[in-house]
């Protein structure tokens, strides 16, 4: 069972979900190139300027570790990355769990993705403004959490912090891609997990994926926001278990 994190952070996103499957599955977590603890030298601007490049990474990972066929759990943009990888090498994938997926974020004729192109520019501006602040603190800052000491020391400031150039390119790659046409070719059984109130991937986008994806199931969960893996891990674990092992 392979967990893939979405745009913004790294594999820590799965820390409340992945352990629940360790008894029943071999669990593999990874950071996308450019995120978390990945090797900066592996980042290739040419390859990682399209989601196909990230999908190639996933295929290489599965081949290298001889993992397939796997249950691939992709959050946010990694749901799309998983779909592209499954289209390329179906035999490596047993089932897909797509958490908060969107095949296209920008509105188009007859399609509502939720965003306009200029709003993605705003995101880039917001990211730029915040790297300015972060770049000032050179030494890693460990953010303590008195309420949850078990999370304390191991977390360094690398979480949710990417090289600005890589982060910008990943943001554009994530939010400007259009993978609607890729849905038709996918035969791998899949579960679409949709939060009831998600600004990034609205319910109608989740339904769009479900309707255009053969052999897919749809689970609407009572969670708010784009990251149920952090805000409602138990609910997410529940629907995943039900799908994988009814």
């Amino acid at each position: 069972m392979v967990f893939a994190h979405g745009f913004g952070c790294d594999q820590s996103m799965w820390r409340f979900v992945a352990p629940a499957f360790e008894a029943s599955h071999r669990v593999v977590l990874f950071d996308h190139v450019g995120a978390g603890g990945s090797d900066p030298a592996a980042y290739d601007p040419g390859r990682h300027s399209s989601l196909a490049g990230y999908a190639d990474d996933v295929v290489e990972l599965l081949d290298e570790l001889d993992l397939g066929p796997v249950v691939f759990v992709g959050h946010s943009v990694s749901a799309t990355i998983g779909l592209l990888a499954a289209a390329r090498r179906p035999e490596l994938f047993d089932r897909l769990v797509l958490v908060g997926p969107s095949p296209r974020y920008i509105d188009d004729d007859g399609y509502r993705g939720g965003f306009a192109a200029h709003e993605i520019d705003e995101l880039l501006e917001t990211m730029d403004a915040n790297y300015l602040g972060w770049s000032a603190s050179v030494a890693p800052v460990i953010m303590g959490n008195p309420d949850r000491p078990q999370l304390g020391e191991e977390l360094t400031s690398s979480f949710c912090r990417m090289d600005p150039t890589i982060a910008r390119r990943f943001a554009r790659t994530t939010f400007l891609s259009d993978n609607r046409a890729d849905l038709a070719g996918i035969r791998t059984p899949s579960l679409v997990v949709q939060c009831r109130d998600d600004f990034i991937a609205p319910v109608e986008v989740g339904r769009y994926i479900h309707e255009n994806l053969a052999d897919s199931e749809f689970a609407l969960i009572d969670a708010v926001g784009h990251c149920p893996n952090l805000s409602a891990p138990d609910v997410l674990i529940g629907v995943m278990r039900e799908y994988l092992d009814p």
Partner: protein, 525 residues
């Protein structure tokens, strides 16, 4: 402080204070925050509204993808720059927040997020300027890197084809284009495709786009500057202007990767200018090369003497990469009724100068050769000519005389590679006698070497383009050459010798020349 005093301080604090639930919805907000929201919201109850919904769209995405996870995992975020969009004017704020679990509630998993927002209008203006300045500096640095790569690639290219190939390669590589093509104006003024790389190269760029790119002269006579033009279908036309005229255009089809940076038009214009200058140079270079070629061909294609008992074949091949002719030559002529002079030389350098020096040396050798002088004497005379005239200093030369009635070959070498004799059984013998320094150095004349040819023997004179390569020693090169010569079928004739000797392994950097005598005459006395 009284509870009432504390409540007043909460409401009138100089920062906006909020309490949110786990989903980011507002549980409570102070007066400062309500005051920032403008008339439509300030009077309303803001409870239940999600804070992220009051941010710019970019800020909302950022909240969902970065801040909410950070709060969940690290428990806090500090000094995050976002923009409040509710109310009249956008208000840049710095956001700090901490997440706490609520222990005295019935639901143990419930959390509350305490938020402080600092008004950052002034500071944000300043920071935006800093960000813009840094972005500009990074763009300039990236443009410079790009230009450096293309300049280097163009500097290495020799001919027009080379420049065109370098341009499309550099563009596809550096700008990550889907494809690139170069169209040059031909003799009759039409655009001709000269190089392409990648898929989906568009049809010939329209005349209108080309003239826009070239910066055609306006009706009022002012010349517009050349510019990058983007066609309606997205392909990009870059002018390639030389000093005198437009050479043509570079056409780029951008790759449709969402993560790619936008094409840097400034750098593209500069690349086009460099391409234009490189094409100027390439055109001149090709003219000079073609004159040198003509000259050398004219001097080398004269009819060589033929014998009853021998076959003489020759070949010359210019360097593959530079297109430059060198100063290699061969010659064969009668010194007297029975003595045939055979010679191969190599003038230092390449190009027109070397070609003319070669012509002079070749003539000098012919006039210095005379019955009774002998190979060493002839080399001495040529050496004095070189010292007197300065022509061909440092050139190397092998000169030998074949006495036809006795089948005896006498020879001398001025710094040149040794002649080679191959025999019918596959034996090969390098002739190392009669050696002296290259021409112009002026040393004592050596005793000439001599070898007697048997029927079926083959004599080879050649230049270093057949032997020397960067990746092996001269010794090894000679071995390889001798083997190839011994195994070369007699069917290879004029114009085929060099390639048959080298196999496909042509020398990129040096020209090569060879003269072969297949002896079938009487056995030596």
């Amino acid at each position: 402080m009284t509870p009432l005093g504390r409540a007043r301080s909460w409401d009138s604090a100089p920062v906006a204070l909020l309490r949110l639930d786990g989903s980011g919805a507002i549980l409570d907000a102070n007066d400062t925050f309500r005051g920032w929201l403008g008339d439509d919201l300030s009077s309303r109850d803001v409870r239940g509204i999600r804070l992220s919904a009051l941010l710019s769209v970019g800020g909302r995405i950022y909240w969902e993808t970065h801040l909410a996870p950070l709060l969940r995992i690290e428990g806090r975020v500090e000094e995050i720059a976002v923009e409040l969009r509710a109310g009249g004017t956008p208000r840049p704020v710095l956001l700090s927040a901490e997440l706490h679990t609520v222990e005295d509630e019935t639901d143990p998993d419930d959390v509350v997020v305490n938020v402080a927002l600092f008004d950052a209008r002034e500071r944000s203006r300043f920071e935006r300027e800093l960000v813009a300045a840094r972005a500009e500096a990074e763009r300039s640095a990236a443009s410079l890197r790009t230009l450096l790569v293309t300049t280097t690639a163009l500097a290495r290219a020799a001919g027009v084809e080379g420049v065109c190939a370098a341009l499309v390669h550099a563009v596809v590589e550096v700008y990550r284009a889907g494809s690139a093509s170069v169209w040059l104006v031909d003799d009759v003024g039409a655009l001709t495709l000269r190089a392409r790389l990648g898929d989906g190269v568009p049809e010939r760029p329209s005349a209108e786009l080309v003239s826009q790119a070239a910066g055609a002269v306006d009706a009022d006579g002012t010349e517009r500057v050349e510019q990058v033009v983007v066609a309606p279908d997205g392909h990009v036309v870059v002018p390639l202007r030389g000093s005198a005229a437009l050479h043509g255009v570079l056409v780029i089809v951008p790759r449709a990767h969402p993560g790619d940076d936008a094409l840097d038009h400034g750098a593209l214009v500069a690349t086009g200018q460099q391409g234009g200058v490189a094409l100027d140079r390439a055109v001149l270079h090709e003219q000079s090369v073609s004159v040198a070629h003509e000259l050398q061909r004219a001097m080398l294609t004269e009819r060589l003497p033929q014998l009853d008992h021998a076959r003489i074949s020759t070949d010359y091949r210019p360097a593959e990469r530079s297109l430059q002719v060198g100063g290699d030559w061969y010659d064969a002529f009668w010194v007297d009724d029975t003595t045939l002079a055979l010679t191969v030389g190599d003038v230092v350098g390449h190009g027109l100068r070397s070609a003319t020096a070669m012509g002079q040396l070749r003539t000098a050798v012919r006039s210095c050769a005379e019955g009774g002088v002998g190979p060493a004497g002839v080399l001495g005379r040529v050496d004095r000519f070189v010292r007197r005239s300065g022509v061909g200093f440092g050139s190397t030369l092998v000169y030998g005389e074949l006495d036809v009635p006795t089948a005896r070959f006498t020879y001398a070498c001025a710094g040149h590679l040794p002649p080679l004799v191959t025999r019918p059984g596959g034996d090969a013998e390098l002739l190392w006698e009669g050696r002296r320094m290259p021409l112009g150095v002026g040393v004592a004349e050596p005793e000439p070497g001599a070898v007697d040819l048997a029927p079926g023997d083959t004599l080879w004179l050649y230049t270093d383009g057949l032997v020397e390569r960067r990746d092996r020693s001269l010794h090894r090169g000679l071995e390889v050459f001798a083997q190839a010569a011994a195994g070369t079928p007699g069917t290879a004739g004029d114009g085929e010798l060099v390639s048959s000797l080298l196999g496909g392994d042509l020398n990129e950097f040096d020209d090569a020349c060879v003269l072969r005598v297949e002896w079938d005459g009487p056995a030596p006395a």
